[in-house]
């Protein structure tokens, strides 16, 4: 003997349920195929349901006056194994299903005329999506598909351009002009002086006046906030609004950092900046202080500690602040970090950075020293947990063993998310970083 469950089928009008009016059988009854089991009232009709099996009734699911949902058990039977009446019933039962008919159709929700409504379900392997790289903040550049394609090919971010066409539409000329311009700029920046580092001359270059003309005296000019400017504004505001910032300062004797970068520059022929040494050292420290390399998720009530060390580099560009990313810094030598850092910064400035090069950082470094700043209080690159600001490296008077000495120093400023780290956590990490940068042995142990 085997147990068979007969579920309430959709009785032709796709209704959701039916009310039991009267049972025509009782537990223990032996019934033959098609013997009336029960009279039910659907929203449309009074219907007698015949038995799909020959066998003994063991359970009636529900009482007169009760409501049974379509697809729910109505009657359980005990039937002879191998008894033929409903071939499909056998198959269904064997498959652990219940009602005849189920196996032939997708699972359905009841509605009307016929079998009922199929569920809005996704398949086992539903397509996964990735948010678009652009326009995710409701940005609207106006350009024809042709111009968009051109921009994509030339690596031009349309949102950074002002359209010269009708109603401000971006034209092919706009893109081509922008491409020529950034091409020239990119060439200039590949010179050795292009990358951020520390000589006074470079600082002068970096602080050259911006090309925005001041409004006429006594007047005001309204500049529409759009494109990258708008994105920056949104991101900064969000970070400041959501993240409780704390900034801590540590001054580092950069003697050995400078020595190392000079040595590596000579050795490799690649210009290695002090910044790249700091970036590489930071990755090392993050591994030992995981909360530095993390993000806070208030909705989930979680802190996510990142197992990757992708360092974002805040870079000034014609269009505003960009944050290109050097990926997997912990797995790379300093020289390589220096090379990649220069590449991504250049690509970002030229507007030809790939989405991968502009997203995915787990912690960010901003080198305000390049603009002459001693120290600052950087705003965290939301949703990261910390940002490290590096001040200008310059010879300063420091007291060593009671003696005033001249040493190159720089001040590190770490802004951190107080929801993730406490001050003690942050300072422990910064002390660790300071010691690493000041120790010729530990610096020397970093992959070159």
């Amino acid at each position: 003997m085997a147990e068979r469950v007969f579920n309430l089928p959709d009785l032709g009008e796709g209704l959701e349920d039916a009310e039991i009016v009267e049972w025509k059988v009782a537990p223990g009854d032996d019934v033959e195929l098609n013997r009336p089991l029960v009279e039910v009232n659907t929203a449309k009709a009074l219907v007698e349901i015949p038995s799909p099996f020959a066998g003994r009734v063991t359970t009636l699911h529900g009482e007169a006056g009760g409501v049974v949902a379509v697809g729910q058990p109505l009657v359980t039977f005990e039937v002879e194994t191998g008894a033929p009446p409903s071939a499909e019933g056998e198959a269904a039962a064997a498959a652990g299903q219940a009602s005849p008919g189920d196996a032939a159709r997708p699972k359905r929700e009841a509605v009307l005329v016929g079998y009922g409504v199929g569920q809005e379900k996704t398949g086992r392997r539903r397509p996964r999506l990735r948010p678009p790289d652009r326009r995710d903040e409701g940005n609207e550049a106006r350009a024809t598909p042709l111009v968009r394609r051109l921009a994509r090919e030339k690596g031009i971010d349309l949102t950074s351009l002002r359209g010269s066409g009708p109603d401000g539409r971006l034209t092919r000329d706009d893109v081509l002009k922008a491409a020529t311009k950034t091409g020239a700029r990119a060439t200039a920046e590949t010179s050795p002086e292009g990358a951020p580092h520390t000589t006074p001359g470079e600082v002068d270059a970096a602080v050259a006046p911006s090309n925005a003309a001041a409004p006429r005296r006594g007047e005001e000019e309204r500049v529409a906030v759009r494109g990258v400017r708008r994105l920056i504004a949104q991101k900064m505001a969000r970070s400041w609004r959501e993240i409780p910032h704390v900034t801590t300062f540590h001054t580092v004797d950069a003697t050995h950092v400078e020595a190392l970068r000079r040595e590596l520059t000579e050795e490799s022929g690649t210009k290695v900046s002090a910044l790249s040494v700091v970036v590489r050292a930071l990755a090392e420290v993050c591994r030992r202080h995981p909360k530095l390399n993390a993000s806070f998720h208030p909705d989930a009530g979680e802190i996510v500690l990142k197992g990757s060390y992708h360092v974002g580099i805040a870079a000034d560009s014609e269009r505003g602040l960009l944050v290109p990313v050097v990926r997997d810094v912990d797995a790379k030598g300093i020289t390589r970090v220096a090379r990649e850092l220069a590449e991504v910064v250049e690509a970002a400035r030229a507007g030809r950075a790939t989405p991968d090069q502009l997203t995915g950082s787990t912690i960010t470094v901003t080198n305000f020293g390049v603009f002459g700043s001693e120290a600052g209080t950087p705003i965290i690159n939301h949703p990261e947990a910390a940002i490290l600001g590096t001040g200008r490296i310059a010879d300063r008077a420091v007291v060593i063993d009671g003696q005033v000495e001249v040493r190159p120093t720089l001040t590190l400023a770490l802004s951190f998310d107080h929801r993730v780290l406490d001050g003690a956590d942050a300072d422990r990490a910064m002390t660790d970083l300071t010691r690493l940068l000041e120790s010729p042995f530990r610096l020397g142990a970093l992959p070159r």
């Binding site: 009709a45 009074l46 409903s86 005849p100 008919g101 086992r124």
Partner: protein, 364 residues
């Protein structure tokens, strides 16, 4: 039933199975064996019909329109057809399908929702696809008959439809064409008194059979629960079509003992007394009484018929219950002789999706 009292109605057997028109009875070209066959077909039709209603209640068919009560009209008329004659059914003609030896499992795939139409090779089988748009098939019958006639074939078309269908323009246009072109077609209307919930009195203000007059050919009213009379008038109409190129409209007065379809709730409109009254006029009971009174059947025969009927019903159940869906990819090939590019692209899309999804219903 007032219509049953109507003097115009053709009837050979009364409700008790007694011969009321011995002359007509004598004129029948039916052997004893044929008479038993008529009964057998009616019994098979009823059993299959009951089985299909049950299958729908058990979730095996999407919807099913029962024919119960109309067995005599369907079997009697279909039995009169020659092999070359073409049947154009509506959607309630399982009795006709039984007589014409149509594969009933194939037919029920229509009601299971596994395929449309219901008939493979309808032209070869002389049995058109199931036609749901009411009355649309009347014109197809006229057209087929015109074509057969142009070929000089001695074949007729018979089209089945209900009382409700006589309200549609298509019916009148079909009659008019048949009258004008003198096509060999028999319009067989099963007046079962109800078009879903609308009674005949609200469907037409004049008797159906008399509408033929307006189109220039004979109309006949027959007791549709009398299988012999249904046979006789159809046979006569077919002869007239073959020999005189004259169409006929037959109104077979019968009764829909079941709901319009399994989706219907007839208790909302069909008076119980009316159903009870017609219960007394059951066509099978009537004809069995006739056969018994004539001594043509014995209990052994009746047992055998009952067994055959149950076997046929069981074979329909075995064939249709749990039958898997047809593959939609195959259906793209049913559209045209070739598959144009835009359609091939769609077929490939669905194929890719199905392959990505894996076997039917395997997901939790």
């Amino acid at each position: 039933m007032e219509r049953a009292e109507d003097q115009t109605i053709v009837r050979i057997l009364d409700p008790e199975g007694r011969v009321v028109d011995p002359e007509a009875r004598q004129a029948l070209d039916l052997k004893e064996e044929d008479l038993r066959s008529l009964y057998r077909f009616m019994a098979l039709s009823r059993q299959v019909d009951l089985e299909c209603t049950a299958l729908q209640r058990q979730g095996e068919l999407a919807v099913y329109p029962p024919l119960i009560g109309q067995e005599a009209a369907q079997v009697g008329s279909a039995f009169a057809l020659g092999e070359e004659d073409f049947v154009f059914p509506s959607y309630r003609e399982v009795g006709v399908a039984v007589v014409r030896d149509i594969d009933l499992v194939e037919y029920m795939h229509f009601h299971r929702g596994t395929r449309h139409g219901g008939i493979d090779d309808p032209v070869g089988k002389r049995f058109g696809e199931i036609s749901v748009p009411v009355s649309s098939q009347t014109l197809h019958a006229v057209g087929w008959a015109m074509g057969a006639q142009k070929d000089g074939r001695n074949a007729c078309a018979i089209v089945y439809f209900g009382d409700g269908a006589t309200s549609q323009g298509d019916f009148h246009e079909a009659c008019n064409f048949a009258g004008v072109f003198r096509t060999p077609v028999v319009f067989f209307c099963q007046n079962n008194a109800w078009a879903i919930s609308v009674p005949l009195s609200k469907q037409t203000a004049a008797p159906i059979w008399r509408k033929a007059e307006a189109y220039g050919f004979p109309g006949v009213r027959v007791d549709g629960n009398d299988v012999l009379a249904s046979y006789a008038v159809t046979r006569e109409a077919l002869d007239r079509a073959r020999t005189e190129r004259t169409p006929t409209l037959i109104e077979a007065v019968t009764y829909r003992m079941g709901p319009h379809s399994t989706a219907d709730d007839r208790t909302r409109y069909q008076p119980t007394e009316e159903i009870d009254r017609w219960q007394e006029l059951d066509p099978l009971v009537r004809f069995r009484a006739f056969l018994q009174s004539e001594g043509m059947v014995d209990p052994e025969f009746l047992d055998r018929v009952e067994r055959d009927a149950k076997d046929l019903a069981a074979s329909v159940r075995a064939g249709i219950a749990g039958a898997p869906p047809r593959d939609i990819r195959e259906m793209f090939g049913w559209m045209w002789g070739d598959i144009p590019a835009h359609l091939a692209r769609q077929r490939d899309e669905v194929a890719a999706l199905m392959e990505a999804e894996g076997p039917e219903d395997g997901d939790a």
